[in-house]
Symmetry: C2
Subunit: 343 residues, 2 copies
DNA sequence: TGAGGGCTCTGCAACGATGCAGACATAGTG
DNA sequence: CACTATGTCTGCATCGTTGCAGAGCCCTCA
């Protein structure tokens, strides 16, 4: 079962363990003849270094962990992809874990027996763990937070400007002349910080146009899946005065909402215009294609990994609030314009 | 930087290292008084066990690796989710890596310096590495293959019956009276084994109905993304006699194809019926919703993890070819019937 | 010829944890 | 009271690797 160790190779080649190690790592000078002999032994035994031992000795594992609520939510899958790519470019591999948005699961990570110590750093996209909790557990592993807005600056944090993004999305709808613009996805409670920022942007857009917000048009949802978007849209359609546009706090909500609209025989965008957030690939191919706010995911991943690497190598710079660019991508669901099919 | 070790705690509590270890692990009997003293020291220093050291000593890491082509392909994301869940139930965490379908990247995994040795086992969904190559590298880490059909039985392998699945999908279309059923996704070359199985099922369905296959209706695609589905559909529409139905080798191809159909002013399913494979969540919410072959992903993940665990614990049973159930889920894209929106 | 300097190569200790065997003290037994 | 059984606790060795210091050896040059 267990493979050959440096000791086995050393014995076979009749050299010291240390020399084998040197050959494997290309370290100190080794004569050509000896190198060849050792190499032969390595090949014959098909030696593979035991990385766990190496890690122990070196005090690092070359692994970081990425913790997201749900991996099968496209936004997180796409983000995970970018994180894995960015980490690989820096010689790291990524352990991916999901919490199912379960606070307990998130807290486990911080507990005494968590596997967190196996990793050199943590990228965390928390749903219900608060910054205070995170800080309370004096964690030894460097952490960078993703997405969730954290008010006290205890940790590095990478995200887009949620308020501005939501404002722009809403302004886009108002700019098209829509006057009953709904919002799907508010979360008016402690762990809904991101959602609240978006609601705040939604309100700002109205204020800037001198318009009142009809509170009935703001529909909270406990989660951000298609299902909740569909349910919220049904609720909105049941209003005496239904909306003529909807700003959804992510693309999945928007897709669920569009499904209900289409099913109800309403036309998008003619009867109701729809905007989402995240720019998941699905939105490019939906019918109609989805107008959305596109965060720069590559950049989020790159920055997060960079900052984490810095923390890992001991740079003690103060926690940074890193804002990554975003942009509005206009597609059929608001203007009906047909973009070229990517090919 | 480095946290306190057992030694530090031992010194503080004035006991042996071994005793601290016993307390941490709840091992051998320790008197209440001493336990309390050690516990106090543990708490004061906020001790966290060094899992890398523990792993080295115990010869296992408690980690398995899942290697997929692309994590942002919904099928793989959903599969990854199930694998992570199944592994967690058995006390394992999962390192996720993606190869981008790049053969080199896949082969790296098997090379001398790969990090594979850090894991107790490997779940591999190979695109271009062949079974022979895999076997050639005498790998020391247990491997279970996912999805890709491997002809020689050198490894455990978990998948659905691709031929039967494709046959059923095609038969469904033929059963609706369609007579020009196209197939999108063939890969008539060495690494396209799975695709070829599906093509084979597609042909079988025709043979059983005593129908000829029009070879022009079989459109190969290098990959299985929306983009290729769209391109293939455009090609099919340009035929003198376009198809009245399409069987796509996965849901993404189908969604890309539907997008083109809708854009061309054709109605799905009235003018062209569409079937996919994988049952990704997106297909439930697309317009129209997508008829598809649903593999039992939970079961795939569960079986794969189970078999891997067995191999890890040393059971030397011969490589198994494990077939997981699938079923046809009929939605709007073939019959126009409107299923209830899940709510 | 002998000191000094490179070049190779080696052995020991250590990373932080656990397995094992045994030390010591106390309790139980005839 | 001697002897064994039991219950606690400890120290040493070890997992497989790498850092460090130094041992030989050969060559060069004064």
């Amino acid at each position: 079962m267990a493979g050959p160790t440096l000791r086995d190779v050393a014995k076979r080649a009749n050299v010291s363990i240390r020399t084998v190690s040197n050959v494997v790592n290309g370290y100190a000078p080794v004569s050509d003849e000896l190198r060849a002999r050792v190499q032969a032994a390595l090949d014959e035994l098909d030696y593979r270094p035991n990385l766990i031992a190496r890690n122990l000795k070196q005090g690092r594992s070359g692994m970081i962990a990425l913790v997201v609520p749900e991996l099968d939510v496209p936004y997180f899958a796409e983000l995970a992809r970018e994180v894995i790519t960015a980490a690989r470019a820096r010689g790291y591999v990524v352990m991916v874990d999901q919490t199912d948005g379960d606070g307990e699961r998130e807290r486990e990570l911080l507990g005494r027996d968590s596997r967190a110590t196996m990793f050199d750093g943590l990228l965390l996209s928390p749903l219900s763990v608060s910054a205070e909790e995170l800080r309370a557990r004096g964690n030894r592993v460097p952490i960078v937070l993703l997405g969730e807005h954290i008010f006290n600056g205890s940790f590095h944090h990478v995200a887009i400007d949620n308020v501005a993004a939501a404002r722009e999305a809403t302004a886009h709808l108002l700019g098209l002349g829509r006057r009953r613009v709904a919002a799907i996805g508010d979360q008016p409670y402690a762990t809904g910080e991101t959602a609240q920022l978006r609601t705040s942007g939604y309100r700002q857009a109205h204020v800037r146009e001198g318009l009142e917000v009809d509170e009935r048009l703001i529909v909270p949802t406990p989660r951000f899946h298609r299902r909740q978007g569909a349910a919220a849209m049904e609720q909105l359609l049941a209003l005496p005065e239904p909306p003529d546009a909807v700003f959804c706090y992510n693309d999945l909500l928007a897709l669920g909402a569009m499904r209900v609209l289409t099913r109800a025989g309403l036309r998008v965008p003619d009867d109701v215009a729809v905007v989402g957030m995240d720019d998941i690939e699905e939105g490019q191919y939906s019918t109609p294609s989805l107008t959305t706010i596109a965060p720069d995911k590559k950049e989020i991943a790159r920055m997060a990994v960079d900052v984490l690497m810095e923390s890992i190598s001991g740079a003690a710079r103060p926690p940074a609030e890193i804002v990554v660019p975003h942009r509005l991508i206009v597609r059929e669901s608001t203007t009906g314009q047909v973009p070229a099919i990517p090919s």
